[in-house]
């Protein structure tokens, strides 16, 4: 399963990076979202992939590594804050430079 999981992360990353390298802000934001999915899953997987071992005491015989889960939680929240900032920055950009190009100007200009 680890191989498939790793490949999935790879596909997520690749799709995200491709989108990140687009010129318009919305695809870029989607790329960031995909990358953050990949990164969060990666960080989470560093506690290893196991089933039925949720780290809630008394609910199972064994427990998985809770630390990466806590880290990912933090990362998700921070990622949300950042995404929100970027999209609003894009709105501001729309108001100030009238373009959704990441360089703040249409390529011909």
């Amino acid at each position: 399963m680890e191989a498939l999981f790793a490949i999935t992360l790879g596909v997520l990353t690749a799709s995200g990076v491709y989108l990140l390298l687009r010129a318009r802000i919305f695809p870029v934001v989607m790329g960031l979202t995909l990358i953050s999915y990949a990164v969060n899953l990666f960080l989470f997987a560093m506690g290893r992939l196991r089933t039925g071992v949720a780290p809630v005491l008394g609910k199972s015989a064994e427990y998985g590594d809770p630390l990466p889960q806590a880290l990912v939680l933090t990362a998700i929240v921070i990622g949300f804050a950042m995404t929100a900032f970027v999209v609003v920055l894009a709105l501001r950009g729309l108001g100030e430079v009238h373009s959704d190009h990441v360089d703040g100007r249409e390529p011909d200009q």
Binding site: G16, V17, G58, T83
Partner: protein
């Protein structure tokens, strides 16, 4: 201490003229002159020691490990230079008092002059080479200010910048040279360096060291090929030229030659580099001087030529030549200063410096003319004047050298030619200015003698020319002796300062030079025509062009690197990461680690495949934003399921909630953003991006797989063991969040609060036009608040809040917690915004989101602070199990208070963000947002 005071005086005194300037020009000058006067007194207080051959030293340790100490030294050479700097300084101050116009800022002028004087004094009185170097660069800086004194003139600005660039740059080379000397000798103190000549010359780095030092010397002393800046510096007020280009600034270079003579001289490298450069400068300066029509230009090239002469003498490497060099330093300083001052008087009185227009001044200013003529004669090397004596010694030395082998005769001939031209340009100066008919078209109609006191400095100097020229043994001999012996660092050779040495070859050379000079001057017309025909070497133009090329190159390069394209920058960053990672991973023998893989099951395979597929498809469909967003949301759901599948219920909850809030956020912005991206990537760009994307994907997959198949020992066991006993909760992830690593969480909610603040500021005053049509060109529905949604959303709110409370309260022991609870509350309230609009909702939500977020952070932080009262570190948790009748046992934990803070921040920040975006399309009238 005295030495330090001599140096410090001008720096401290620089404010005196600034202060005195308001009280009148004479007082200002007097205040300025007071400084070198005091310096002279202090200097002379040391004279007995110096003349007895002692080296006066003082040292204060400053940065000993750096080799930079405040150590000073006064020996004969330093004395000589200090004397010139202070003495001529006083004269220049007196002169400038009358030279500067009434409207010019005299206080500032003298302040700059005193700064420069201090730097020069520091330079010649330093014992530490590093300290000397500091003063060296200070002279460049302060001379920059002096040369650019008339900064409204572009030639002054450019001349100053050129001088600074060349001499400052040379200073940097010198710094490297000095550091190498320090490296070789192990000390920067002159007393150690000067006795280590053998070691230095034997060292492999000697040639490099010498070249670097000479770069400093040659740039400063305007030696070929760095001579070009000096004539440009003539844009300075004449007192500046008189000071900088006779006795001080340009002499700093030859001072260094004299200073380091024992340490660096005595090798072929020295001989060839120094003497050939000196020779070239000597000839070039002498010849070019003749053809200058500008009075100061002539003097500038003459200065270059004389500096060449001095350099050549040092280059010859004999003790006698060194004596001659030191002697010529003195003589040149005296006559050149007086000549510049005379030129300044002429300029001042006629308004011009063009010798073709200034004629017949003898009639208008006979006194000045007489002084100038004597000084010129000294410059030409006419007997009975000081210039003659040192030039005679020079001729004699050129005859003595035998380093050029069979070409040894070249040097005396070249020296004679230089002498010829020297006489010719001196003659031109005298003849064309003071005689040669009537003035032509001068700006000032009736030239006359300058004020009485303006001439006094010139008179003093000319008197000295005569005195030294006629009574050398009585006047200059002791000074020369101590200075030369200090430079040589040992015994003086036998030499005679007599005026008459009998008929000998040097005398013959002098006579040839005098007669030849007259001849050349008489035949000057064809020479002038020849010179005009030469391709013009406009140093300023070349310099400007060089600077232009440099700037253009910089602009091209910078534009090439920093082309303003984010895609390029991101590509570079990703490329760097791939490169570094590939480099790191190359030695990895086996990707597979020893840990066995877990088996596959159908539903997980399907889920992961769906995740990968939706990700891929959202990239494929990315140009249609909304379609891609919908597909992307599918990925988000799959991620949540993956968390659930692999034992992370809290993560699944969080992912889900954040996902939905993000979708709402993106939908809010999509309303304003274009619905589609244009197809604008070139196929090359697409290929590049695909390569980077695939590379990044492979890197992440590889890292993940490699790590997952390797064993690890984690600190997790500690958390599992202590969660209940130490943290009071059985949901270990939550206990980590609010207790073990509560500090991270505090940071995380700060990020959220800051983002909300920043977003509020971003949206402040932003009003985007409400698109009238949807992306297909149809008008939007006017039914913005459908009745069913309206009713049911209101009915759902209490239930959602209840669920929120449920998730919050059980978070410590079961999946949930303040963060998710906060998002549920926020989403439930956002639903009200969606269902009823901003105005309706705001009317019912009467609290400030700002304050809510602030209160949240504050509560969390105060909870952490509470532990201080119990002498525990920040964020130390406490919990207890309590029991009440009927209710039974229940738990209270400070962590819950902390979690409440988290909850409030999430609610406040999320609502602040979303409601304010919603507000962007509102009319100005309904602004004020909580």
């Amino acid at each position: 201490m005295t030495l330090a005071l001599i140096i410090a005086l001008p720096f401290l005194g620089a404010c005196l003229p600034l202060l005195a300037a308001r009280r009148g020009r004479s007082l200002c000058a007097a205040a300025a002159a007071l400084v070198p006067l005091l310096g002279l007194i202090l200097l002379f207080s040391q004279s007995s020691k110096v003349f007895s051959g002692m080296v006066v030293k003082s040292s204060v340790a400053w940065l000993p490990e750096l080799g930079l100490n405040l150590s000073l030294r006064l020996d004969g050479l330093g004395f000589l230079f200090a004397l010139l700097i202070l003495g001529i300084g006083i004269l220049v101050i007196v002169y400038a008092r009358y030279y500067l116009a009434r409207h010019e800022p005299m206080g500032r002028f003298f302040a700059f002059l005193l700064l420069f004087m201090g730097a020069m004094l520091g330079l010649v009185l330093s014992e530490s080479l590093l300290l000397m170097l500091m003063f060296w660069e200070l002279t460049s800086l302060s001379s920059f200010l002096l040369i650019s004194f008339w900064h409204h003139r572009s030639d002054a600005r450019r001349g100053a910048r050129m001088a600074l660039t060349v001499t400052g740059g040379g200073g940097l080379a010198l710094l490297a040279g000095v550091l190498l000397i320090g490296h070789i000798v192990g000390s920067f103190e002159l007393s150690e360096v000067l006795v280590a000549g053998e070691t230095i010359r034997a060292h492999g780095l000697y040639p490099l060291t010498l070249i670097l030092v000479l770069l400093g010397v040659f740039t400063k002393s305007a030696q070929f090929p760095f001579h070009f800046w000096l004539p440009q510096a003539m844009a300075a007020p004449t007192p500046v030229s008189a000071y900088l280009h006779s006795a001080t600034m340009v002499k700093a270079g030859v001072f260094l030659l004299a200073r380091l003579y024992p340490a660096l001289s005595g090798s072929d490298w020295w001989f060839y580099l120094v003497s050939l450069s000196g020779l070239a400068t000597l000839l070039l300066g002498a010849v070019t001087a003749l053809f200058q029509h500008d009075l100061k230009g002539l003097l500038a090239y003459s200065t270059i030529s004389h500096l060449g002469l001095i350099t050549l003498l040092f280059g010859l490497g004999s003790d006698l030549a060194t004596v001659a060099a030191v002697f010529h330093i003195i003589n040149h300083a005296i006559f050149k200063a007086s000549l510049f001052m005379a030129a300044g008087i002429i300029d001042h009185e006629t308004g011009s410096r063009d010798m073709r227009r200034i004629n017949g001044m003898w009639k208008y200013m006979p006194h000045t003319a007489a002084l100038a003529m004597v000084a010129s004669a000294a410059m030409a090397g006419v007997p009975l004047l000081n210039g003659f004596l040192s030039k005679e010694m020079f001729f004699s030395e050129t005859l003595q050298q035998n380093l050029l082998g069979s070409f040894h005769w070249l040097l005396p001939i070249a020296a004679t030619i230089a002498g010829v031209f020297s006489v010719a340009y001196s003659l031109r100066f005298i003849h064309e200015v003071f005689f040669n008919g009537e003035p032509v078209d001068l700006p000032k109609a009736k030239p006359h003698e300058p004020p009485r006191y303006m001439k006094i400095p010139v008179e003093v100097l000319v008197f000295l020319c005569l005195l030294v020229g006629m009574l050398p043994g009585w006047t200059v001999a002791p000074l020369l002796a101590v200075a030369a012996s200090a430079s040589l660092g040992g015994e003086l050779p036998a030499y005679s300062l007599a005026i008459w040495h009998g008929f000998n070859l040097p005398l013959a050379m002098s006579i040839v030079a005098l007669l030849g000079g007259v001849l050349v001057y008489v035949l000057r017309q064809p020479l002038f025509r020849w010179y005009e025909g030469l391709p013009e070497l406009d140093a300023q133009g070349i310099f400007r062009r060089c600077a232009g090329v440099l700037v253009d190159f910089s602009r091209d390069l910078t534009g090439l690197l920093e082309n303003g394209s984010l895609q390029r920058y991101l590509g570079l960053m990703l490329g760097s990461a791939l490169l570094l990672a590939a480099f790191a991973l190359a030695p990895l023998a086996d990707i597979d680690g020893p840990v066995a893989l877990t088996p596959m099951d159908g539903i997980t395979v399907l889920g992961l495949a769906a995740l990968a597929l939706t990700a891929l498809l959202s990239a494929v469909f990315h140009r249609n934003h909304l379609v891609a967003l919908m597909i992307l949301s599918g990925s988000g759901m799959m991620v949540a399921l993956a968390f659930a599948r692999y034992s992370a219920p809290d993560l699944a909850l969080t992912q889900l909630s954040v996902e939905v809030v993000t979708i709402i956020l993106l939908l809010l912005t999509l309303f304003f953003l274009p619905a589609r991206s244009p197809a604008e990537s070139s196929s090359l760009r697409v290929i590049r991006d695909l390569l980077l994307a695939v590379g990044s994907g492979i890197l992440v997959a590889l890292l993940a797989y490699a790590v997952l198949t390797r064993p690890y020992e984690s600190i997790a066991a500690f958390f599992l063991e202590n969660s209940l006993s130490g943290g009071g909760g059985s949901n270990v992830v939550n206990v980590i969040l609010v207790d073990f690593r509560g500090f991270d969480t505090l940071g995380e909610i700060s990020v959220l609060a800051i983002a909300a603040l920043g977003i509020y500021a971003l949206l402040y005053g932003l009003h985007l036009p409400h698109p009238a049509l949807d992306h297909n060109g149809r008008p939007w529905s006017t039914d913005s608040h459908p009745m069913i949604l309206d009713s049911l959303s209101r009915a759902l709110l209490p239930m959602a809040l209840l669920v929120s409370a449920f998730i919050f309260l059980r978070g410590h022991n079961l999946p949930g917690g303040g963060f998710i609870a906060g998002l549920i509350t926020a989403v439930a309230l956002i639903l009200q915004y969606i269902a009823h609009g901003v105005a309706w909702t705001h009317a019912r939500l009467r609290f400030s989101y700002h304050a809510l977020a602030g209160a949240g952070v504050l509560i969390a932080a105060l909870t952490g602070l509470g532990s201080w009262a119990f002498g525990r570190p920040f964020l130390t948790s406490a919990f207890g199990h309590f029991s009440l009748p009927l209710v039974g046992e229940f738990e209270l934990a400070t962590a819950m208070l902390f979690d409440l803070g988290v909850y409030l921040v999430v609610v406040g920040a999320t609502l602040l963000i979303l409601s304010n975006i919603g507000h962007v399309s509102q009319d100005e009238s309904s602004k004020e947002v909580p």
